[in-house]
Amino acid sequence: MGYLFMTTPKTPSRFDIRKFFARGESLVATTGMAFVAILAFAVGGVVWVSARTIDDSVISQTEEQIRETSVFIASQAELRLSDGDLPGLRRLMIDAVASGTVEESEISISNLGVIASSNASQNMIAELPEQWDSSSSAIANVIHDTKTNRTTVREPLTVDGRSGIVLSLVINQSMEAVGSDSIRASSVGIMSVGLILMLLVYRRFRNRLGALAGIGEALAAAGDGERRIECLMVGETLGPEAQVWNTLLAEREKLDQVAVTHEIVEASHGGGGDSVGLPAACNTLTQGVILVDSDLRVAYINGAACVFLRSSREEMGNSTLDTAPDSEKIIEATLDVLSDHGPTRRTLEIGDVKEIETEGAVLRVVITRVDEEDVPRAMIFIDDVTQQRLADQSQSAFIAQATHELRTPLTTIRLYTEEAVEAGGDDEQLREKALNVINSETRRLERIVGDMLCVAEIEAGSLSVRSATMRTEGLFKELEEDYQAQAKDKSIEMVFDMPPKFPTIQADRDRLGQALHNLVGNAIKYTPNSGRVEVKVNFMDNGAMTVAVIDDGIGIDESQQERIFDRFCRADDRRIAQVTGSGLGLALARQIARLHGGDITVESEIDKGSTFTLMIPGAEEMAKAA
C-alpha cells in the first residue's frame, strides 16, 4: 500500500523480532489473515474427521445389528428345518419382515428354489423334501447397494450336517450416517461466512490499521534516531489518525525551526558569541547561512556566507543584505519569499561558468521563510556549485562530441556499404575502394571506442600497460598506412623519418600504438590543407625511443600548452571549433607514455606549428620507474 515513506538508519543484521512485527500493516494483516485461515482450516479438518468417525461408528453399529439379526433368523430357520416344520419356517420369514428391520426374507434350496418366503407367492414347494442336493455350498456375504440403500445378506444354513440351503434377507437400512453430511456442510458454511466476514472487517479497517502501523513504524524509527520529518510522516489518505500524526510532526518541526532561529538570534545579539553553541557549529559549515529580518537586516551570517558574498562579518553584522556586493538577485528573491503571498521557498543560481576565468563563481542560493511569533524572517543558504556546473558542462560537451565522433565514421561506412551493394560485382574498383574506406573507418571507430574505454579505466584508476619486448617497425608501418589516405585527402605531405635500425624496446604494443595514433591523428587533423607532417623516430644510446610528431599547423598558445593534456579539454582557438575531437586523445597519450615511465612534451608556436615528442625509456630506465 505504500503509506509510509521512511528510511530507517542501518542497524546490524541481527534478526529483531520486535522490528519484524513492527514492519507495518501489510505484514500484520497478512500474518493475521494467514493465521485465521489456518485456524479455520484446522477447525474444518477437525469437524471433517469427527464426522467421518461418526460415520464409521454408525456403519459399524448397523453392520453389527444386521449380523445379529441374520444370525438369529438363521438359527431359528435351522431349528425349523431340522424339525421339518415348513409352515413354521414360512411364518418365521413373515415374522422377520413384520419385525420392521427386514424388508424381504426367503430360504431357498439350490435345486428346489425358494421353499419359504415372506412373500407367499414365491414359495415353490408345498412340503419340505426329505432329501435335497447338499453338494453345493454357499458363502455368507453382505452386499450393500448404495443406489437403493438396501443391504442383502446371504447366510448359508446347515441342517443335520447338510448344506445347500441359503437364507436371503433384504434389509432396508442405510449404511451411511446422513447426519454427518449436514455437519460437514454446516462447518464449511460457517468457515466461509467467517472468512467473508473477516475480509469485510479487514477492508473496513485496513486504512486505519495502516495508519496505526505506519505511526508505530515511525515511532520505532524515531527511537532509532531518525529525525527527518519526511521520513516520519505517513500517508494522509490513511485516515484521521494519519492526518493528526502528520500535523503533530509539522508542529514539532516548526517549533524546532523557531527554537533554532531564536538561538541564532540570541547568539548574534551577544548571547555567548560565535564561539559556542549553534553559531560555532554553523561556522564549520562550508554552506553559507544567513538569517535576515523582514527589512533585510542580517540577524546572523556565518563565515562561508561572508566568503561567498565577498564581504566580512564586520561589514555584514547588523547591516542590511544590500551591503554585500552583487547581491541584487538574492535580495529580490528574499523579498519575494518575505512577501505575504510569496512562495515559502525559492531556489536560484547566480553567476555563470563562463566567468570562471575572471574569478567568477556559480552559487546556488536557497531561501526559506521562517516565521517566528508571526514575524517573518528568511534563512538563506548558499552553496558554491561552480565545479559541479563545469563538470556538467564538460560531460554534456563530451557526450555531444562523442556522438558526433561516432556518427561520422558510421555515416561513411553506411554510404560506402550502400554504394558497394548497388555496384554489385560489376565495378570491382568501386567495391575495393568502398571496402578500404569501410576498413579504415571501422578502425577509426575502434580507436574512438578504445579511447573512451581508456578514459573509463583512467577514471577508475585501472588503466595499466603490459610491457613486453617488441619491435616498432611494424607499428610505424601500420601508422603510415592508416594515415596516408587521410593526409592525401588534405594534400598534406606526410614524411616518416625512420632510423636505419630498429632496436627492440619494452612496451605495450596496443597502448603505444594508441598513443602514436592520437599524436599523428591530431597532427593531420589540425594541419591545414597542403601542410606537412613529419614523424621522426630516434633511438638513444640508453635504449630510449623518442618519436617527434612535427606539423606546421595552427599551433597552440603557450598558455594552453599544458591544459590540452587535460581530459575533455581542447585549446581555446576558434579555428579548431570546426574540427571534430573528443578532447581525450592527448590526455590518453600522455597517460600511456607515463605508464611506460616516459612522457609527452609539446613545443608550439601559434601559426607556425607544433612538435609533440613522445619518449619511451629503455628497459633499464623503465625498470627503475616501475
Binding site: N302, G303, E359, A361, Q387, L390
Partner: protein, 112 residues
C-alpha cells in the same frame, strides 16, 4: 622558487616547484596562495609533490592558509604528499588541519 598555478575546471592548483626552506620561499608561497584563495572562494589545492621539504616558515604559511579557509568551514587540501612531508606534519601535530589526497585528480574531484 618557481610556483606554477594550473586550473582544473573551477579549481586552481598551486604547485610549489621545490622545497620551502627560506623566508623568501615561504613569503612567495603565502602571497600567491592568499591571492588565489581570495579570488577562488577557497576552490584551490596545493600540490606538494615537488615540495620535498618545508621549514617552519613554510609550515606557518600552510597553517595560516588552512585557518583562513576554516572561517568558511573549509580546510586546506594538499595532494601528492611525500613521506618526509607527512612525517613533518605528524611530528608537528598539524596533520589533522589539512585534507590530504593521493593526487591532483582526486583532490579536484573532492570539490564536486
Amino acid at each position: 622558487m618557481r610556483i606554477e598555478t594550473n586550473r582544473h575546471g573551477a579549481v586552481t592548483v598551486i604547485v610549489p616547484g621545490g622545497p620551502v626552506i627560506t623566508q623568501e620561499d615561504a613569503t612567495q608561497l603565502r602571497t600567491e596562495s592568499f591571492a588565489v584563495l581570495g579570488s577562488t572562494l577557497g576552490r584551490f589545492i596545493i600540490d606538494v609533490s615537488e615540495m620535498s621539504f618545508v621549514d617552519s616558515c613554510g609550515l606557518e604559511t600552510l597553517v595560516d592558509l588552512t585557518d583562513e579557509l576554516g572561517v568558511s568551514g573549509q580546510s586546506l587540501k594538499l595532494c601528492g604528499i611525500s613521506d618526509t612531508l607527512r612525517e613533518i606534519l605528524a611530528i608537528t601535530g598539524i596533520t589533522s588541519k589539512f585534507q590530504q589526497f593521493e593526487d591532483v585528480q582526486t583532490a579536484v574531484r573532492s570539490f564536486l
